[in-house]
Symmetry: C2
Subunit: 381 residues, 2 copies
């Protein structure tokens, strides 16, 4: 008997009732669909902790990142982007692709982006129009201090854009209270549905920028999306991924039933349990600061073992999908997931699978040590 | 008892086995997914009748239209776009949005785009870099003569871009034999899956244009997509709509089993049957030339009855979704669908529903006349 487990930090596991919600498609101009979309858009505001518009696109999260940039900036605009992982690098790439004058602040993969570096960069570049930060850098497991960055950006006229694709709904992000202008989210992480939908929360300040920004955008046009979403019932400008919106309606009601605070607490608990197991197994973390690293736990592969071999062993022997390294960390690390639809036994199962895989690959494992350490955290000990 | 029928020309009905294929999501870096994607990409080549690369995006068809333009052209490039309906107008809008020098050739909604008008425009504009045409103009039901246009464009250096979103897999389009450089398709029409995936077939000539085109593109970057799709097993650059690709794998095998020629013949037969019913009911067609109008049958609402009232009556009384008019035809027409997953009894059911709705709205219907006329065509009489 080999079951199938998706334990990657996106796509994350899909609840059966969410999966089934895709089967019977309604028409996107039907009253039923209008009700789904209305509930989903309101649910997104709840998760985003915002009264701002949340714009929805049928695309990967990357599409919404492009949309946030293309709608609010013009060629030559100076922006500061933090790059300490694959997704931070993507912010730089998109900026360069669209002809922004992008100051890339690179930091070590595994470190946190440094608010002091932003202060310095802003002092040196008072004409900065935008600051781009990854909240949860999925490639390293690091979760940056969005609030600290927001305080600094708030002293300037710059727009603050946060890629929260893997962190949204897993780690606290108070869009309005902290004053984040553009928050990009995706469907296949804490929102618990398959990939294919992406979102951007757009502040009033960002909408003002939309009016003067000259980069070309059509499919990702915020104004077109807002005009359609503002109708009663709400619509989308182009035919959307209807079955995914049906799925999101179910997932949203699960999140609302659990309550956002409880959802955050669950993510923190499962991360702490996983971290305890990693320590008990004598392994080393990639993320040096784990105080907010609640989306994925990145771990250095032990000496003499390739990260990919651990991934393959867990997949081939147990049907468990965990993630390997990306970019410059490829082959060197593995990543344990705990974002979205996980319960405590998924956490212990994942760690049990890890112990068995490590033993098979020759790493000296005291079998049960990781699982026990995690279970103690879960038991509140 | 009221069932639910999607008879719109997109999204079109989803076969139950296709709907169910979305339930259990695989991981997009799993061997299973690689097999799905490989089969789907090969299946698309079959439907497109091409050896060219077919690039896949997670987006609405409009996203792929933008991608085709943004990857192959530069600001200021002169293009000729035919606009005789909502989707032709969209080609003009995207061109203008991206700063192309777009010569819009408007033609009457309901008429066919005229190859002679293209010849004249090309003579007057020998520096034309692209010709944009809608194959199946879903807003009017007109299907243009892509082959005739292709012959004319072939005499020039211009790229020929065809929006085949609603026609692909319904009406013959020989991408390679006719030499169409960019063919845009969508998932929610003849391909029988829910909306959310879009495609572009890219000729060698178009790839050369990609090398020099300077419009910004990131999410819709052809080169990035090709690099990922060329891997073994194939991948996508960003997390794709996995469950829709699973669905497309099932739908593709249905199309292959039926055979493309038979699929085309079925669409033609059902269109002819629907046309016969419309004539028998004494109604007037929007499309003046119906020799290729096999995707949707657009009909003028009878004097004194709003198109939307017919749509609403069929929806509210029978759970049948047909389409009303778009743009300048809003309220004036209704559109009967027969693209994708329709069998002959869907055709007669739709017409039966139409007869009942028309009678209710006060139109003098000889009940059974439309259904009988259609059935005679289906019976081969």
């Amino acid at each position: 008997m080999k079951k199938s487990y998706i334990f990657t930090p996106g796509p994350s596991p899909v609840p059966p009732e969410v999966g089934i919600a895709q089967v019977k498609m309604v028409h996107h101009r039907s009253p039923d669909f209008g009700e789904y979309l209305d509930r989903v858009l309101n649910g997104l505001k709840y998760v985003y902790q915002t009264e701002n518009d949340v714009i929805m696109f049928t695309s990967s999260g990357t599409g919404a990142m492009e949309g946030a940039i293309a709608n609010c900036f013009s060629a030559g605009d100076k922006v500061i982007a933090f790059a300490g992982g694959k997704f931070g690098e993507r912010l730089v790439e998109i900026s360069n692709c669209f002809g922004l004058n992008c100051i890339a602040i690179e930091y070590e993969w595994g470190e946190n982006a440094d608010p002091a570096a932003l202060e310095k960069a802003l002092e040196e570049n008072p004409d900065t129009r935008g600051v781009f930060l990854t909240q949860s850098e999925t490639s390293t497991g690091v979760v940056n201090d969005v609030e600290a960055f927001a305080r600094i950006v708030a002293r300037t006229d710059a727009l603050f854009l946060v890629d929260a694709i893997s962190g949204l709904g897993a780690v606290d992000l108070k869009t309005d209270e902290w004053g984040v202008d553009l928050v990009v989210g995706g469907s296949q992480k804490a929102l618990m549905i398959p990939p294919g939908l992406a979102f951007v929360a757009v502040s009033k300040k960002a909408w003002k920028a939309v009016d003067t920004a000259t980069l070309p955008r059509y499919y990702f046009c915020f104004k077109a999306a807002k005009a359609s979403q503002s109708k009663t019932p709400p619509e989308t400008p182009y035919t959307p991924a209807i079955t995914l919106i049906q799925a999101l309606d179910v997932a949203m009601s699960m999140i609302k039933d659990e309550g956002l605070e409880n959802v955050f607490a669950r993510h923190e608990l499962f991360a702490r349990a996983t971290q305890a197991a990693v320590e008990a197994l004598g392994l080393e973390f990639v993320a040096t600061d784990r105080s907010r690293a609640f989306v994925t736990t990145s771990v250095w592969a032990p000496e003499g073992i390739k990260g990919g071999d651990i991934v393959k062993a867990m997949r081939n022997d147990f049907g468990m999908f965990i993630a390997g390294g990306q970019g410059k960390l490829k082959g060197k690390i593995f990543r344990l997931g705990h974002v979205g639809y996980f319960d405590r036994f998924d956490i212990t199962s994942q760690l049990a699978g890890l112990e068995l895989a490590l033993k098979k690959l020759g790493y000296p494992v005291e079998i049960g040590a990781g699982v026990t350490a995690a279970l103690k955290v879960l038991a509140g000990e």
